[in-house]
Structures are given as structure tokens and as C-alpha cells.
Symmetry: C2
Subunit: 496 residues, 2 copies
Amino acid sequence: MPTYDEYVRRMQRIADIRYAAAVLQWDQETYLPPKGAHYRGQQLSSLSEMAHEAFTADDMGQLLRELLADATLSDTARRNVELTLEDYTKSRRYSASLVRRLCEASNRSFHSWIEARRQNDFRVFEKDLAALVELKKEEASILGDFAHPYDALLNEYEKGATVAQLDVVFGELLPRLKGLLSEILAKDPGDDRILKQHFAADAQWQWGLELIHDLGFDEAAGRQDRSEHPFTTSFSAQDVRITTRIDEGDLGNMGWSTIHEVGHALYEQGLPADQYGLPLGEAASLSIHESQSRLWENNVGRSRAFCRFVLPQLQRYFPDQLGHADAEVLFRAVNKVAPSLIRTEADEVTYHFHVFIRYELEKSLLEGRLSVRDIPGFWKEQYEKWLGITPPDDKQGALQDVHWSHGSFGYFPTYSLGSLYAAQFFSVAEAALPGLEENIAHGETGPLLAWLRENVHAHGRRFTSDELCRRISAQSLSSDYFIRYIRAKYGLDQSA
Amino acid sequence: MPTYDEYVRRMQRIADIRYAAAVLQWDQETYLPPKGAHYRGQQLSSLSEMAHEAFTADDMGQLLRELLADATLSDTARRNVELTLEDYTKSRRYSASLVRRLCEASNRSFHSWIEARRQNDFRVFEKDLAALVELKKEEASILGDFAHPYDALLNEYEKGATVAQLDVVFGELLPRLKGLLSEILAKDPGDDRILKQHFAADAQWQWGLELIHDLGFDEAAGRQDRSEHPFTTSFSAQDVRITTRIDEGDLGNMGWSTIHEVGHALYEQGLPADQYGLPLGEAASLSIHESQSRLWENNVGRSRAFCRFVLPQLQRYFPDQLGHADAEVLFRAVNKVAPSLIRTEADEVTYHFHVFIRYELEKSLLEGRLSVRDIPGFWKEQYEKWLGITPPDDKQGALQDVHWSHGSFGYFPTYSLGSLYAAQFFSVAEAALPGLEENIAHGETGPLLAWLRENVHAHGRRFTSDELCRRISAQSLSSDYFIRYIRAKYGLDQSA
């Protein structure tokens, strides 16, 4: 009879390889000298192959099944083994050949995406992307029986997510958002000029460090560095790295993307450290991860209360630029709404149109209703339909995101789900924590963090997104919370 | 019949794991947050176990032997496979149990060394060090037939090094150095007060970056960071990392240790990049590695010519402190000679007494003539004998170096061999490169680097230290070169 300890040892050894790869990736994004890229790529491939080999070994399946037959296993141990068996079963569906072909196709696509952006011409990307889409269809077909081929890919990022569910979510959300958008634009779309002055990089960096400290980031268990695109990664719950980028012409860029990454990082630092390498030491799902980043960035960070807290801090760093501003000016600046072309720069309201368009597009590609060649036309039509604006070129259109070139299809919807979960969780937290708003206005976010630790972080992957949501709010995901939150923020009538 | 390509693929995959471990170690010394240390240790152990397992697999030996039977193999390919078989044969001698016991004993010793230093009491370190010494004796015994038990350990760091050889080297060197030391102290020991002013850390850092650039370090294939102890590491010939430390009260500390690390780095950057993961892509030996760092630090960096070059640069960064200095003042500062207690701060002349004392001590421990308990007494007696000074406590005595606590016995002699090789190689380079001194005085070290690339770096591990030395200088290692170099530097009569 194998022991649970044996399972833990094996899993931790695999985790050691995966986290080592994560360190190499972090280094790649932060400090790698340019000529180091070639062998770094090879080192990463080797580590990921080794982790895959070790995890999908025949005797791993046997170990897991035998352990599950052990009636003396604790609940926690059983849940770990069950989840590992799920992961194992899924991983075993991938043949070495498919893994290699996906990897090669992604590499090719990534390079042609870079080149296509350079030439600002989607057609340069077309052939490699089309080959990748065919491979993703093959991948979807081997992943088991799903009602819709896209479901298989969605499921890779968000267990249980389906086209049927997402069609309902977006079907409810989008028409209401379209109405909201008109109301906000008519009433007061905000004004962010105060954030578009010159803000010296050093002072931004120093403010950022103060900010992440104030939000509860544990600097002894993590650090911040700079990279081209902000991200969060972790090598254990006790070593969580975030990155930021600084635009001297836009304070909001660094500030609120830092808060976003801190939200991710607080989740990682709050995962049970003693479950290192095991499912219960991992995040519940991508959408729940995104709920944490968005809750801190938006529900906390773009609130009136937070603006009251952070403005005096900002005035210390930038007396000339912000000395005369008041909290309401800052609030209107960080909540400016305007239809725009670039997803990552979109406001909270229009953001979901960007996600929905990509969702529709990916779904149609997988169904075969849309061919890669037709993407730019589809893009133009959808942006005109939902946002009333027309992308002038491919860089500001279908070439803006890196995700497809990495082979990531089915990822975007988790961004919208994250916002909706954030609003739902925050609403419950507000009810559970009297005086929360006043606390935030004084920078006292400790009680909120403790609530999230207890209700979200501590569970790791024990519950699915939906189970977690029902435990927290006694119902499944509902866009009502998000709509109410937006209406309240923009001072719109809640009965409408 | 296995193919050479198969061998290369296997070797590169093992290299990928080892270099990944090197990235994790680099991060540990530069950026790791304190709480990350625990799982980082585990990640490093897993990677090193995996690399060892993959390298010592049964079928690896078979592959190597079969390849050597292939008469069509090119010389380069054959040399790689021969050297790999040597490494393989050695690695296979280590049982999993011995590897684990060595690793555990080192971990324990490292912690008790830290604690012993904190308490400034060698006795705290004694028990764990004694256990480690017993293990090193066991290690020496499994490594094959050697004339002296210490030879086995020396050989781990320097192929072919023996007590018989080192006794001759030190036997010739030390009495001559003792004479030289008296002559120098009587004539002019130098004066380094000019380097002991306040030098702001930022300006030192900026100067350091300019300096490494001027010396030919390729910043696109490496970078510099800060760490507690300066070191060089590499993850391929195209990603070589150096670190430095800054002491605001001592400019020489940062400056010349940076040049030292650049010397190591230039070697790594000059190794054949297409031999990644193979012996011919590795350094010849530790002593040859050290010859490169010392050649740049001392033969170049502490020369009159280099002082003429670097002083105006330094005066730009530190006009107040150095504005009135001349090159001779700088030369006398960076070449000050004085018996001292701490090896890493020793000058070029007294340095070798420090190494010799550790060599004698290790040799005696391995022979069983000395017991661990007697180390502090032996230390005191030897420092009095050779340097005429008495360590006031253990921190400035036998607890100063970290090496033993890592289980590194047999490493120190490579430091002295490196200095001797450096002097020998530099003397040949001077003859081969007319105008070298004038070039250095103008910061034009390109011709010297090209010469080292061709004569040392490009060969990788193709030749042993001795073979390389004979190719370069038509004779084996001789301390005559070093003695002549020192006599010339300090203006002493060469006929003495």
C-alpha cells in the first residue's frame, strides 16, 4: 500500500521542477540579457518536458488510485489526491507528439505575431495562426466529450466553464452594460487629465513600494521588479514576485496595475504554505485569481474611500502635479469611461465588450464558422457594433493580444468572470465587515484581507469557482452584483 | 549504434537542469526574499538530484562506450565523449547514500558555522566539521587509488593535482615569497589611504558598469547585480552573470573585485557557445578559471599602465576624493603589501601564505595527523610562523572561510595555482603582443582579450591545466614567472 507521504514527496519534486521553470521565466521577463534568450528557451522546454514526464508516469496513476482506496485518508489528503487524479487523467490525454506539435506551432506563431505587429499586418500572422487553430481543434477533440468543442479549451483554464454558461453570462451582462455605458457617457464620463502629467519614474517606483506595503504585501515573502508587461508569479507561498511597468506620462498606468498585481500576490501569499506542491496549495481557478486582482484594483482601489486614502500619499511624492487635487478629482480620473480600442487600457465598463468579442471570435473559430482569414473583418464589425469605434489598423485590432500566439484559446472569458466574482465577493465582504469603507479611507485594509484569507485564500483548490461562490454568497455567479456596483459608483439610479 | 546527436541531446538536457539550478542559486544570492529560502533549498536539491540521476543512468555509460568505438567520430566529438566518460565514471562512484549523507552533513555544518561565527567560537563548529571530515575521508576512499588520501579530493577540483606536486610548488614558492615580503616591507609597502575615503555607492556602481564595459564584458550576454559576496555564474556562454558588493569606505574593494569577476566572466563568455552542455563548452579547470580572474585583476588591473588608464575615469566620478591624485599614488594604493588575517583581503604577495596554511591543514586532517579540535591552535601557530601575526579570535582565524562548511576540501590550492598560471600566461602574452603595456594604459585591452580567447577560452576543457600551460608557454607551471612579476612590480632586483 503506498503512503500519502510518498505521494507528497513525488508531487513536491514535480512542483520543484515547475517552480524552477517559473524562476527562469521570471528572470526572462525581468533580467535576462538578450543573447541569453536562445538557451533559456531550451532550458524552459527541458524543465517542462521533465515535469510532464514525471507527472504522467504510469505508476503515478496507480499510486493515486491505490491511495483513493485507502479509507483512512483524511479529507484534505483525499481532496488532494482526487484533484491530482483529475489533473493526471487530463495530462495523460496529451501524447508526446501533440505536446511537441503544440509547442512548435506556438513558437512559430509567437515569432510571426511579433513580425506581424512590426509590419502592422495581420496577414503575416495568418498562416501560423491557422495551423495553431487546427491543432487546438485536435486538442479539443482528444480532451473528451464536450457539448461544444470550445468547452474543452475553456475547461483548461476554468473547470466547468461552458459555452452554454458563458452565453448566458454575457447574454445578461452585455445589453445591461450597453445601457449603462450610454447613461454614464451622458451623465459624466470622468476626466483623467490629472494622471497624464509628467511623473518621474523614481518617485513612481518609491510610491509603488509604499503602496504594496500598505496593501499588506509581505516583502519578506516576495518582491517587486520591473518588466515590460506587469505580471505575478510565485515559487511557493513564501516567494511571490510581482512586476510593474512605469510610464512617466501616466501615473494611473503604474498605480492601478500595481494594485491589480498585488491582488494576485495577496492570494498567492495566502495559499496554505504547508500544501506546497499539492492542489490545496494552488489557486482555485483563473477566474477566482482574477477576482482577487480586480477586487483590489477596482472595488477597493478605484473607490472614493481609497482615493481619500491614497491622495495625501501621492501628494507627498508629486506635490507639483497633485498638490491642488481633491479626492473626487482623483476618483473621477481613475474611473473615466470611454470606448477604446485596446483591452488592457479599457475602463471597468467597456472592458467586457473587449472580452466578449474575443470569446465570440474564438468560439466561432473552433466551430469552424469563422476562418482565420476573416478575423480582421470580424474584429472591425464587432468593435463598431459594441463600442461604436473602428480599429484603424491591425496593431490596434486583432494583433493587440499575445494570447493566441501562445496557443491560449479559452483564457479571455476568465477576465470577465473575475470581475463578476470580485463584485459578488466584495458585496458580501461589505456586509460582513461593518465600517469597511471608512477603514479603506484610512488605508486599513487588514480586515478585508483577513476576510479574503479565510473565505478564499485558505481553501486553495479545495472548491471549484462555483462551489466557492456559493459558499461565500449563497448563490452562483450573478452579474447583478457587478451591475449594482457600477450603478452605485457612477451615481446611477439603482431601480433602473 | 547510438549517434553523437543523441549524446548531445542527452547532455544538453542535463545541462538545462544544471543551469536551471544555477539560475535559482544566482537568484538566491541576489534577489530571494528571506522567507523563500526554505523551499528554494528544496528546489535546488531536487534539481541536483535529477541531474545526478540523469547523468549516472546505466544506459549513459553504454552510450558513451559505444560512441567511443565509432571510428568516424571527429576529434572534437571524441574528446567530448572521452571527458564525459571520465566524469561519468567518477560520478558513478558516489552512491545515493553517500551523496545524501554529504549533503546533509554540509547543511548541518553550514548552520553550525554560521552559529559559530555569531558566537565567535570555533568549538560550536567542531562536532559537525569533524563528522564532515570523516565523510570526506570516506569520499576520498571510494574515489579510487591515489598516492595520498588528499589527492582524491584535490582531483575533484583540479584534475591531476597531487600533494606531491603541490608540496613542490609551495616548497619553491613560499621561502622566496617570505624573502620578497621582507624586501618589500623594508623598501616600500605602499599606502592605500586614498582608497579609504567615502565613495558614494551610486557613483561606485556607475563606475563599475563603465569599467566592465571597458574591459570587454558583453552586456548583451550577461549582467551585473549586487550580492553579499561577489561571484560569477553562467547559464550558457551567452548569459554570464557577475555580482559585486559596495563598501562606501573602500573603493578598492568594489573596483578590483569587479575586475576579478570580469576576468572569470570573460572566460565564460569566451567558451565555445556551440558546445553548450558538453565538456568542450566548459572551463578547463578551476585553476585556469582563477588564472583568468587574477590575470585581469592583478597583472592587468594592478599594473602601472592600468592605473594611468583608470585614474582619469575615477576622477570623473570622484573629483573631490581623487582629483589631486596621480597614477603612481593609485598604483601604490592598489599594491599595498601587509601581513593580514583575512585571506580575501590579502595582497598579492601574502595571499599565498593564507592558501598554504589551509592546504597544510586540510592535508593533515585527511592524513589524520591533525584533529578538528586542534585547528585553532594550528591556525595560530601557522599565522605566526608565516605572517608574524596572531589571530585575536576565531572569526578572524579558522572560521573566516565558508568553504569547509560546504564540504569543499581541496579547493583552496586552485587559488594559488591560478595566480601562478596568470603570471606565466601574462608573460607569454606580453611577448606576443608588442605594445601591450601602452595599450592597457589607453584602456585598449581588446588585443589581450583576443589572445586569451584564442589561447585559453576557445579550447574549453579540451586540455588539462598542464597541457594548456605547456601549449601556451612551452613548459609546465613554474613559480618563476610569478616571482619575476612581483619583483618587477615592487622594483626589486631581478638577479636576487
